[in-house]
């Protein structure tokens, strides 16, 4: 049952990822990416990470993708990638290189010792919150500085001079 659910979600995730890369229309790609992010949120749920699944839907599929769709609408693409590709030969090199990368990743992933399975899987908000405010307190505070810097920088960039 669990394996069947995983296989179904994995098919959706892989199909939408391929759709993003292969479709020429950017807005179709954005919608494929929403499906992909939703599928990954479902995978988080199967791994017992409820908090991350909710954050994934809210932050990624919500905020970030709205930003993407907004930028696509503002920039009116769709006629940029219609002409023949002048560098098609170079770009087709990406396929063997991507296959080589995948082979390396699989080799690294397959080479592992028998990992000890810890006691239970803490996936709730409580465990993550405890970690964020004890072991990861400094990076957590740095994140707020980073977000503030990004906010100010975006306003500066987007300002018409």
């Amino acid at each position: 049952m669990a394996t069947a659910a995983f296989g179904l979600i994995a098919l959706v995730v892989l199909g939408s990822a391929l759709g993003l890369v292969l479709k020429r229309n950017a807005i179709h790609g954005a919608l494929f990416l929403v499906v992909n992010l939703g599928g990954i949120a479902a995978l988080y749920l199967t791994l017992g990470a409820e908090f991350l699944a909710a954050a994934q839907v809210i932050v990624y599929a919500g905020a970030i993708m709205v930003l993407f769709v907004f930028a696509i609408m503002v920039l009116i693409p769709g006629k940029e990638e219609t002409g023949p590709d002048p560098r098609r030969g170079y770009r087709m090199l990406a396929l063997p290189l991507g296959a080589a990368l995948l082979a390396e990743l699989v080799m690294i992933g397959a080479r592992r010792g028998a990992a000890p399975r810890g006691p239970g899987v803490p996936g709730g908000v409580e465990a993550i919150g405890r970690l964020l405010f004890t072991d990861y307190l400094f990076p957590f505070e740095l994140t707020s500085v980073l977000l503030l810097a990004a906010m100010v920088g975006v306003m500066l960039l987007a300002k018409r001079t």
């Binding site: 669990a2 394996t3 994995a10 995730v13 892989l14 990822a17 993003l20 890369v21 950017a26 954005a30 990416l33 992909n36 992010l37 990954i40 995978l43 988080y44 791994l47 990470a49 991350l52 954050a55 994934q56 932050v59 990624y60 970030i64 993407f68 930028a71 503002v74 920039l75 693409p77 940029e80 990638e81 560098r87 990406a94 396929l95 290189l97 991507g98 990368l101 995948l102 990743l105 992933g109 397959a110 990992a115 399975r117 239970g120 899987v121 803490p122 996936g123 993550i128 970690l131 964020l132 072991d135 990861y136 990076p139 994140t143 980073l146 990004a150 920088g153 975006v154 960039l157 987007a158």
Partner: protein
């Protein structure tokens, strides 16, 4: 129970698709979305590792990745908008100002 290696394999495939998308596509917006795809593949691997070891550390890391990705997308899209405003075209092949 699905073994974690399935999740790792899926994550590796997604990451490779994302990298190929970055190289193949010409629209900077689609390149950005492919980067998001690769980041999500890494996140999935982190959660799977955390699940294997029974700790929430992987999930805390994914939380940080999400925050950094949000900042990155905001700044990157602003830069793309500025470039589009200056050039009125949107293809990475046109951006060769800093090429030697």
């Amino acid at each position: 129970m699905v073994p974690e290696s399935y999740y790792l394999a899926l994550s590796a495939i997604l990451f490779a698709i994302g990298v190929v998308g970055v190289v193949v596509r010409r629209n900077p917006l689609v390149i950005f979305m492919s980067i998001e795809l690769a980041l999500n593949a890494a996140n999935l691997a982190l959660v799977a590792f955390g699940h294997r070891h029974g700790t929430a550390d992987g999930q805390a890391l994914v939380f940080f990745v999400m925050a950094v990705a949000a900042a990155e997308v905001a700044v990157g899209l602003a830069i793309i908008v500025v470039i589009f405003r200056a050039r009125h075209r949107l293809s990475v092949d046109d951006l060769n100002l800093m090429r030697w």
